[in-house]
Symmetry: D2
Subunit: 364 residues, 4 copies
């Protein structure tokens, strides 16, 4: 800060020169600068978040009714739609965006406190000057100088960690769906120098890497609240680097993710064939519900479990159900029950609900 | 969850038995329970935060004009008042409380999604049932089931880390002020088994220890956003323990801190004598401002620095100033300039501002 | 500590009573106890690590030559063997174990320093008593009392984080291999209350959850080195809880992982069919190497890439290669090149190397 | 990596051109480069650690018998010597150095595995080539390619975090000793732009700031063990940045700390006057021990506590002891007991022990 002040004094010159930096301390300059830089960076980050949300919204709308396997603990559970998966990404993104927007609009602040936060060198006009200064740099005016009250910096760190983590979640889903054996989505491009056939999910990979680095920087900000007296001996001085890093890598994660989503190739046919690959097991819950009405819940559960186990011998699940006389299921019943495309629950209505909510959130 | 469901079915019996847990998955039960437990715990945590804020407010009011040394990088800088220090604690506490209150009022949510978040077993009435369930447990209804959208849990972790960190900052100030050489505050009690004369800042120490543990748990929550598909294989299962720990240790930190603040013994006379111990050096900034009008800013800064260095030889700062003929300062001028109690800047007005803000924040 | 000392004094009675806790401070008792507890816990953790290593070694040996797809960025890359994958787990486990063993054998220490680490109440015999005490509790004797030198605790935290992270890596591989679409391994058991057909990788999931919690606790230990003067005000007091947690959850992760590995069902046929599912693309690198000798490296790379892209139209990779006249490849050449089972590189020799190394490491 | 390989091929040309990068993958190049960069950086870091250790050793030797207050929970406890404090820093530094040296000498490794770690493109000579390559770059040869076994990177992160934390502990002690009210040490330089009289502990402050940033980077390395299959999708890609940061900021912390220690001004007179400032209370433990022989331990403890409390009324501790008839202490006894300079326990012998150990550690 010192060389900057000297340079500025030289340029100002004359009578006004002695008012340059008057009543301010280096931290006033650094913190205000950090807030201005943050505001500009948040606009970029929020812009990237909007891109991600828009891409998720478009995927949700386009694939509202595209059936795919819902997977829990990475196992097929019951059918869902790719639209609902994308709607889940959308809601997570907009949830994460909300806090960041709030910080952008009222969580930043000008900093002016002088040597120890009393506005000592500004006579009796200190608070008025603080307010004028805040207005001049167009930042909210803080209640008090905040030299060692770092709640706003820590909350910013937390919000960036959440945004980066949300981006990482979407990216992980892409990576998992792009696996050779799953192959339900692909990123455009993504070649390999040694293996010309590969199509790596490069954007999602970069998003995950950037999100990790953002999280590391954010942890420094969240861990720096404990600052001594009226200016810290170390914790404050570490903030600038960590804040820059958290902003840059969160932005990087979102940009990479947005690119991946915008070009995402979705293979609905493969989603369908993966869904069918287990011969109806993905609808086993529906069979159990159907049988529960007849046999009671526990017996139904056990019977379906036994039929599922019999598929290990090569029998289809359909056959296993039909050949168990205790179940008394007809072919028509079984075929209806095992059709995954009619067992989507409220998936489509939930997509509509998420899209409606996102539109309202954007306008609100 | 399974034994609980079995027990409940047994108790319900009859026709209704088959509707117990129908359409729900274990995670629905666990997440909703976690939110209910969190709500109850947040009320305790917010209550402790109120205690801390109240105690800080009372100290700020009582010591609005009690002069003490403002310290930057742990060195005397310029005078401040103990009231302004306590007001700083108050503002930090209320800043940290704001996000937690927001989460308490609209950041929690009921969880109901069924096997993979499609409400598969609930037919066409899924969303309506989700809304009724949320109303029944008196939690906000989520846009979508949030089995792998953990933004609310991560934000809760972040908010608890901020509250714990803010508590730790206040506690650190108490520890520093209670040092044998500073002795400006003391906690009641605090004996030692081996050294009967000691008065340890036990509450502040416990607050800092608890805050560290809270931060460790919160980092697990903030690091758990990346969850796979429709249910995670590990990250979700770690949340319960981390959430309990973050809530408990944040509460513990606040309770210990509140105890320390409520009984805090403030030694205004010692604050004054510490302020005077450097023979006026703590007002050196004012002397430099005074001289700047006569000698220009850089020359004034250098002259004061030189006078300060001469104190190393045993000369008082007052003498050093008076005996430098270039400065042309009279005894009256020097004595006025070096009186720390008249160089408080806007400290008292800032205390009023913080108290006003806190009162509005509480009613708002 | 105080009630313990009182109780002990009562039991000892007589002349000896006044020597109970003489010259010791509470931290001496707590730290020595923590080291004794740690030693016992490390024996359990090391035992679980041995179980994991043994299970990995057996899998490596049994599947030394079982071909499977090697996957980079979760895409098929080139063939490997399941034995080499398990050997990689083995080497990682034994790498992680090495530091923990070292800490177990010489990284712990007795603690005895008295009030401020000078052995003040022990007259001129302090150091001799420190040595006798260390011998009595059978712990290494430290160079100095280590009340605020927490390197050994932080290194323990780091080593536990590494072990937990290594366990988590193996567990993640199991989760990924157990996916419905991959299905190359399965854990025994692992049913679901709502979906009777599911076989969740429960042990691996629990291992990953426990490892996350271990990491959270370890981060507290690693972050607690900065301690004040001769006894800290907060950082030390947080250690006990974090150390217990780090030990318990690391042990939990290893136990869950060992269970998963010991019962792991490996489906070599499925590994083979997954390897074949891409019609030889997994051996594309070998084709590129073969062509490079004829066409030069870049041209070969481009040609193989083009052939790979043509498979998107339904053509097999084999056909695509055979029908490109520029390549001049015969059927015999192509069939030989595309056989994944003959493109294992040094996989089997590497398994032998890892097993040999592990055996030496165990005896050494 | 790709442009680098192209450039290199161009330069090599001719027959040899096709062997450039043959059988290697990008990660082989990056990881080996990271290890070579790390080795060079570790030499700098270890050099800075040696500087710190040397400076601590010199302070320990020079102030072996300089009495000062031992402080626990930041309260005067019993006397120690500044030499023992510095010896504690020395032992902590050399403890932290040990693991880093071990990693420098045998914890790094060459990386060569090819596409998926099987050395697929190197025919039957893969392992031999791996060994030759490791010898060529003069790095230890790994048991297996370690594309997703990141134990060595995580351990490096942990070791750097420990070194940075140890540096931060010493720096904190300096900051605390340099406080205006304590003033037992001062760093040379350290002026302030607004307050010409200040002497900030700038080196220690910078060391603490750098150590925090090092810790943030290290946490990314420690959290990146969970990597997928034969190459990770994100965790590996984040390592380079985090590793560079951890090395650079650990080095920065040590360099700043070394500078602070090498120029440290130690004020033995001030140490003595601080020790005396409590009128003998710092030797209260000795009085309690003396009385315990006559009154029993509990009664002695209570009596000393009562005398200590009476000092709050303005009475000196000496007077309080002499005027309590139950104690039966003579003036000679009290004066002897209260002399802090004769109550140093084994402080001086412990300094010798630490210096001896450090010398052996250096030569060993």
């Amino acid at each position: 800060v010192e060389p900057l002040v000297r340079e500025l004094r030289g340029r100002v010159g004359g009578e006004a020169e002695r008012f340059v930096h008057l009543g301010a301390t280096s931290q006033d300059v650094m913190d205000t600068a950090a807030m201005l830089v943050t505001r500009r960076a948040l606009d970029l980050v929020l812009g990237d978040l909007d891109r991600v949300a828009r891409a998720c919204g478009e995927l949700a709308e386009a694939h509202r009714s595209t059936p795919m396997a819902g997977r829990t603990v990475l196992q097929h559970a019951v059918p869902t739609t790719f639209g609902l998966k994308a709607a889940g990404w959308l809601v997570e993104t907009t949830d994460a965006r909300r806090t960041l927007r709030r910080i952008r609009s009222d969580g930043l602040a000008a900093q002016l406190g002088g040597a120890a936060g009393t506005l000592s060198a500004l006579g009796s006009d200190g608070i008025r000057l603080l307010e004028l200064f805040a207005a001049e740099v167009d930042l909210p005016c803080p209640v008090l100088p905040w030299h060692t009250n770092r709640v706003r910096v820590a909350e910013l760190g937390g919000a960036l960690a959440v945004v980066a983590g949300a981006a990482s979640r979407v990216a992980l889903d892409i990576v998992l769906l792009a696996q050779t054996e799953v192959a339900e989505v692909a990123e455009p491009g993504g070649g390999s120098s040694t293996m010309p056939h590969k199509r790596n999910p490069s954007g999602a990979t970069l998003a995950r890497a950037s999100a990790r680095l953002a999280g590391g920087h954010a942890s420094v900000l969240l861990g720096s609240l404990e600052q001594e007296h009226e200016r810290a001996a170390g914790a404050w001085q570490a903030e600038w680097e960590a804040l820059s890093g958290a902003l840059a890598y969160t932005g990087g994660a979102l940009d990479a993710l947005a690119g991946a989503l915008e070009g995402l190739e979705v293979d609905a046919a493969r989603m369908r064939s993966n869904l069918d690959a287990t011969g109806g097991l993905v609808a086993a819950e529906r069979v159990a519900l159907l049988l529960a009405e007849r046999l009671g819940r526990q017996a139904a559960h056990d019977a379906v479990g036994e039929a599922a186990r019999r598929t290990a011998t090569g029998l289809s699940f359909r056959e296993a159900l039909l050949t168990d006389p205790r179940l008394g299921l007809s072919e028509v019943e079984v075929d209806a029950a095992l059709d995954p495309t009619t067992y989507l629950g409220s998936a489509e209505a939930l997509v509509d609900r998420a899209l409606l909510h996102a539109r309202e959130g954007t306008s609100g």
